[in-house]
């Protein structure tokens, strides 16, 4: 593509493995914040 550079493709649809999630990832508030919620910066541990 000439005018559009895709930085990242379809990540959400592809991460839909059933409707439960494996739950092995870290709880977001345990990482550093403790007073806000930032989930998008966490890693999936099932990849």
């Amino acid at each position: 593509m000439k005018y559009i550079k895709t930085l990242v493709g379809n990540t959400l649809e592809k991460s839909k493995l059933g409707n439960q999630g494996c739950g092995e990832c870290q709880t977001s508030c345990q990482s550093a914040c403790k007073t806000s919620c930032t989930v998008g910066n966490q890693k999936c541990e099932n990849k």
Binding site: Y3, T6, V8, G23, G40, Q42, N46
Partner: protein, 452 residues
């Protein structure tokens, strides 16, 4: 009006388009950015009439076709996620604890949400027996999850360090017995850190969060000793030594900003100049009535500060990739799954806080609020209605989140922020939302710049 399916913004010299439902992110030319404004609502003829003089006919048609192609590939204007039947934590698995081993503190920080460590109750330390029972409670309620998390929190957890040590040892026994893996972390003000404690923490904790507010005058203005003196000179050398010891292990130096230091990027830089590489500085959580609270009138300056710092951050990252500001980190490729992004932090369901007496609360920020008591570790969860409320407070059920482009990044925001600002778990904290949206834009624009 239908929900917005794309979000576009210009920052740090990049035109960026985020596709809300697929998570795709595109860096585009200005012509694309302009045409996207009309793509969904107007015909190609209209778009040609509007942009041909500026960009030329061929370019407009080419861009139109590129957008259409991405749409067909599900990378632009992707339809809403179909999560019918989403069954979040139906077995009520608990996987993480915030263990309040000490409801006492050796600092007296003005803004403390824990009311100087005691969470509005009596000063107390968790007994080893209660701590052990808490770990057992976690294992018993963890179902098939292998990775379990325990954050030693307070008050100040180093005031009860022997219990911390004994609990780590007990946790290791439980790991073997039940085939689990404990990830221990600790959040400390650093006053009692000494060589022995540092060695123990370094060896046994997967992460240490060290609380300090950046520049000396900023820290000392809020984070005071019991006698009212500043704590900076006591804690900074200890935190430096601790960070030095960590080497490639995780740590965070974590500060809070209030309306007294809206120029908080200077505090972040102060951390960096002191050698700290993993940094978090967070907006204060308090009643609007407090003199130092962040209020609507401060918002624009805070947002500008984030954006200003993002420019500085790009420059630093180009020469020092190890530097990380917690809120500018975003993982676009290995990030959490859609389920996690939908349900959020898990407070009140997967994640619980436990008081020194063994009482259960949805998270550390609700501790001491009697109506949020969920039960205790000896008898289990008693307030199933409350647990259900927390479980259902997700981005589909919160009206404002449902419409917001950032919903899959913040996942509905912090329940405690929502409750304390609006007395309603389902109504997000507006200031927090605006700050979070800005941080996400900053984070993506940083990635776009670093990818060059």
């Amino acid at each position: 009006m239908g929900k917005k399916r794309i979000h576009k913004f210009y920052m740090n010299n990049k035109y960026i388009v985020l596709d809300v439902n697929s998570g795709s992110v595109h860096v585009v030319d200005k012509i694309v950015y302009d045409i996207l404004e009309y793509y969904e609502t107007e015909t190609l003829d209209y778009i040609l009439s509007k942009f041909t003089s500026e960009y030329g006919k061929k370019a407009v048609i080419d861009v139109y076709e590129e957008i259409t192609k991405l749409k067909e590939q599900g990378l632009l204007y992707a339809p809403e996620q179909n999560l019918v039947g989403l069954s979040y934590n139906k077995d009520n698995v608990v996987k993480a604890l915030c263990l309040h081993v000490a409801h006492d503190c050796n600092l007296k920080c003005d803004y403390c949400f824990a009311a100087q460590g005691n969470f509005k109750g009596d000063r107390s330390l968790m007994s080893l027996e209660t701590g052990k029972r808490a770990l057992e409670f976690l294992v018993e309620n963890s179902g098939n999850r292998r990775n379990l998390e325990v954050d030693f929190f307070g008050g100040e957890p180093l005031m009860n360090f022997q219990v911390v040590k004994d609990l780590v040892e007990y946790g290791r026994d439980l790991e073997k017995k039940y085939n689990k893996r404990f990830r221990f972390t600790i959040t400390t003000n650093g006053v009692l850190l000494d060589e022995d404690k540092m060695d123990f923490i370094n060896e046994n904790m997967e992460n240490i969060v060290m609380s300090i507010d950046g520049r000396k005058e900023i820290n000392d203005n809020m984070r005071k000793t019991i006698t009212g003196k500043g704590s900076y000179d006591i804690i900074l050398p200890k935190f430096k030594a601790m960070a030095e010891k960590r080497k490639d292990k995780d740590y965070y130096i974590r500060g809070t900003f209030t309306n007294r230091n809206i120029d908080f990027s200077k505090d972040i830089m102060d951390f960096y100049e002191n050698g700290f590489k993993s940094v978090s500085v967070e907006p204060v959580v308090t009643s609007e009535k407090e003199e130092y609270a962040l209020r609507e009138e401060h918002l624009n300056r805070v947002l500008e500060e984030y954006e200003k710092f993002s420019r500085e951050y790009i420059n630093i990252k180009k020469r020092d990739k190890d530097f990380n500001f917690f809120h500018f980190m975003i993982d676009l490729t290995q990030g959490p799954c859609i389920i996690k992004r939908t349900v959020g932090c898990g407070a009140g369901s997967e994640y619980l806080a436990i008081t020194p007496e063994g009482d259960l609360y949805p998270c550390h920020q609700f501790v001491g609020e009697k109506e949020f008591n969920l039960g205790n570790i000896f008898e289990g969860i008693k307030n199933n209605t409350l647990r259900k409320e927390f479980k259902e407070a997700n981005i589909f059920n919160k009206e404002e989140c449902n419409q917001c482009w950032a919903r899959y990044y913040c996942s509905g925001g912090c329940h405690a922020n929502a409750y304390y600002s609006n007395s309603d778990l389902m109504k997000p904290y507006k200031l927090g939302c605006e700050m979070e949206k800005k941080r996400i834009e900053c984070a993506i624009s940083i990635l776009a710049n670093l990818g060059d």
